[in-house]
């Protein structure tokens, strides 16, 4: 599904990812954990195609090098980034945004675009599962949403767009226990043998709900250790200091 090879990412003169390598196969759930400033969010932005990064190396997604593709083209090919801080856009209403996004992705996949009636029925079904109230769908995108509402909204978009690879950038931050469980349930409902996940987090607690197949420790822009889900529990006890010392 995803193969990152010798990826270097920098902003200006500052190198953030160095010789970064990662392979994710179909249906696998990978977690990346690491201290602040280790480059986790940069990785997620570089994968999603944010402007402003100098990228060298290969990002092979479904056997295509996507390094030169723009963010919309990557999303249309099936990459979804759930933002750590979802952006508020005044005046852009949820329903209009969701329908435009869904139809842009469907069009790129040569699927029939949905009309208003089909869209409303679809979005209401997905929203209900995530405990999102209907009036939220009539509000401006993320404007005035609580932290929990914003994160649930990210999962709603993910479930509508049905990506092949979902990157969750600190989706657990700012969530209370109940919201965390709702979001995790939403993500688990999307798990399938055809869909892969890359979960970026500081803490083990999200991984109690979404069991990863692999856990990677990222320090100073590179993966320094890979293990199974038990590694997350170990990290919870020993922290990241040992890995930082080793470098």
């Amino acid at each position: 599904m995803l193969s990152i090879e010798k990826l270097n990412v920098s902003v200006g003169d500052k190198k953030i990812l160095q010789n970064f390598n990662l392979k994710i196969s179909k249906g696998e759930v990978h977690a990346i954990m690491g201290p602040n400033g280790s480059g986790k969010s940069t990785l997620s932005y570089a994968l999603a195609g944010k402007d402003g990064y100098v990228v060298d190396g290969k990002i092979l997604f479904k056997n295509e090098n996507i390094v030169d593709l723009k963010a919309d083209e990557r999303a249309q090919r099936g990459i979804f980034l759930a933002f750590q801080y979802p952006i508020e856009i005044p005046g852009v209403f949820m329903n209009n945004f969701l329908k435009t996004s869904l139809n842009a992705v469907r069009k790129a996949k040569n699927q029939k675009e949905v009309d208003v009636v089909e869209f409303l029925s679809l979005v209401k079904q997905h929203a209900k599962k995530l405990g999102i109230k209907e009036d939220q769908l009539g509000r401006a995108l993320n404007v005035g949403f609580s932290g929990g509402e914003k994160k649930r909204n990210e999962v709603l978009q993910m479930s509508l767009l049905e990506p092949d690879l979902a990157i969750l950038d600190e989706t657990d931050s700012g969530l209370d226990i109940d919201a965390l469980k709702t979001v995790a349930d939403g993500v688990n409902a999307l798990r399938s043998p055809h869909r892969s996940f890359l979960i970026i987090t500081h803490y083990q607690r999200l991984l109690d709900y979404i069991k990863p197949d692999f856990v990677h420790v990222m320090v100073n822009g590179s993966i320094v250790k890979t293990g199974c889900s038990k590694l997350a529990q170990e990290l919870d006890k020993i922290g990241y200091k040992e890995f930082q010392k080793a470098i």
Partner: protein, 407 residues
């Protein structure tokens, strides 16, 4: 056609204003209020434009809106046709401004004030056309004033003077639609609006599809107790326009709401000048303007809130935002507060930025192509103002023409 020269008071006022104009001449960049005005260049280059005197004119029937409304069709400044719906017939009076002068030949001086403004003085002196509109009760349907201009006024100047009177306890929406088939014309429209006690007037204007002419529109609005004046001006595809309004909140609980959106491209110029005078206790004013500027276009917003020393408990608000899409475009913002009372709440904010890259990335990360994402952001940015419009019909109308404009 009636002439106005045989009414002594009008004749004297015109002469007085002509003297003022002759003394000052056209405004120049040396005049503080006209520093950034693109009208200066047009007027400098077109000083000798002949003044057009209206005659019987042909109506362009193609531009009528398809919602139910009362129609007033003004061609080259002259009323040509009116059509009112149902009971609204009895609640509306419309005559030429000349007729109004004849029937009310005393105390006309208030319609000829603003002598410090040279272009208003020119209008006062030279206006040969215009209308008087009186609304006597709550209207069931909005009024649309179709201002039509045709090729008969090419390379001429036309001065139009209007007076709108909203009687007490009345409510009305007045929509002004401009159709320009003329070229290189200077159009000056000076409108006095009196909003009497407990009345509500909503005045919506479209500046669009007019890339050949220079327009100066001046409105002076007097608002009495518990009355309010709401205005929205939508501007897109224009040449040079200055929209100026002076609102006097004369009595307690008088309110005004001024909204503007504009999307300027190429070498378009739109200048907005606002002066709100809080002249009594417990009055409220609210200004909200959003501009998208592209190409080599220029937008200007000069907004002043004046609070008289007796106008305690004033609530004045002004927010001016613009997004600049190119390196060559310009937006000038000049917010001003002049406050002589000590128990007031007045605030103003102004920002000019480029398109927000984080917003663009967020939308593109959801598969929305860059151009479509930009359109959504621009539409959303402008819609925030349009959402404030209190007449639902016109709110939807302007949301829809904004969407259409961005296609």
């Amino acid at each position: 056609m009636n002439t106005i020269t045989d009414i002594r008071e009008v004749s004297e006022l015109r002469t007085l204003n002509l003297d003022i104009f002759n003394k000052h001449g056209y405004p120049t960049k040396k005049d503080e209020d006209w520093k950034q005005s693109a009208l200066n260049n047009f007027l400098e280059n077109n000083k000798q434009l002949e003044i057009y005197k209206t005659n019987n004119e042909l109506i362009n029937e193609k531009v009528f809106e398809n919602f139910k409304h009362n129609k007033i069709i003004i061609v080259n400044g002259l009323i040509q046709k009116t059509e009112f719906e149902g009971k609204d017939k009895d609640k509306i009076t419309i005559t030429s401004i000349d007729e109004f002068y004849k029937n009310n030949n005393k105390n006309l001086s208030k319609l000829f004030s603003n002598k410090k403004n040279p272009l208003v003085a020119a209008n006062n002196a030279l206006a040969t056309s215009g209308f008087f509109l009186e609304i006597k009760d709550n209207l069931d349907f909005p009024i649309t004033i179709y201002h039509q201009y045709n090729s008969k006024i090419d390379q001429k100047q036309i001065h139009q003077k209007n007076y709108i009177l909203i009687n007490k306890n009345s409510k009305a929406s007045i929509f002004e639609k401009f159709t320009n088939e003329n070229k290189k014309t200077f159009i000056s429209i000076n409108t006095n609006i009196d909003v009497q006690k407990n009345s509500h007037i909503k005045n919506y204007v479209v500046n669009s599809n007019n890339t050949e002419n220079c327009i100066y529109r001046f409105k002076k609005v007097n608002v009495e107790t518990s009355a309010n004046y709401e205005s929205f001006i939508f501007s897109n595809i224009i040449k040079t326009i200055r929209d100026e309004v002076e609102v006097n909140l004369n009595e307690s609980l008088a309110e005004c709401y001024l909204y503007y959106t504009q999307f300027l491209k190429n070498n378009e110029d739109h200048e907005i000048k606002v002066r709100i005078n809080h002249l009594a206790e417990n009055t409220k004013s609210y200004q909200f303007s959003k501009s998208i500027i592209d190409g080599t276009a220029k937008g200007v917003y000069q907004g002043k809130i004046f609070v008289d020393q007796i106008a305690q408990k004033t609530n004045g608000y002004q927010l001016i935002k613009s997004v600049l899409l190119s390196d060559q475009c310009i937006f000038h913002s000049k917010p001003e507060l002049e406050i002589y009372a000590d128990d007031v709440k007045c605030s103003h904010g102004s920002s000019s930025t480029s398109l927000n890259k984080d917003e663009l990335f967020y939308l593109m990360a959801r598969g929305i192509p860059e151009n479509q994402a930009k359109r959504l952001i621009v539409q959303g940015f402008l819609s925030e103002v349009i959402e404030k419009i209190s007449d639902d019909h016109f709110k939807n109308y302007f949301l829809s023409i904004t969407e259409e404009m961005l296609k």
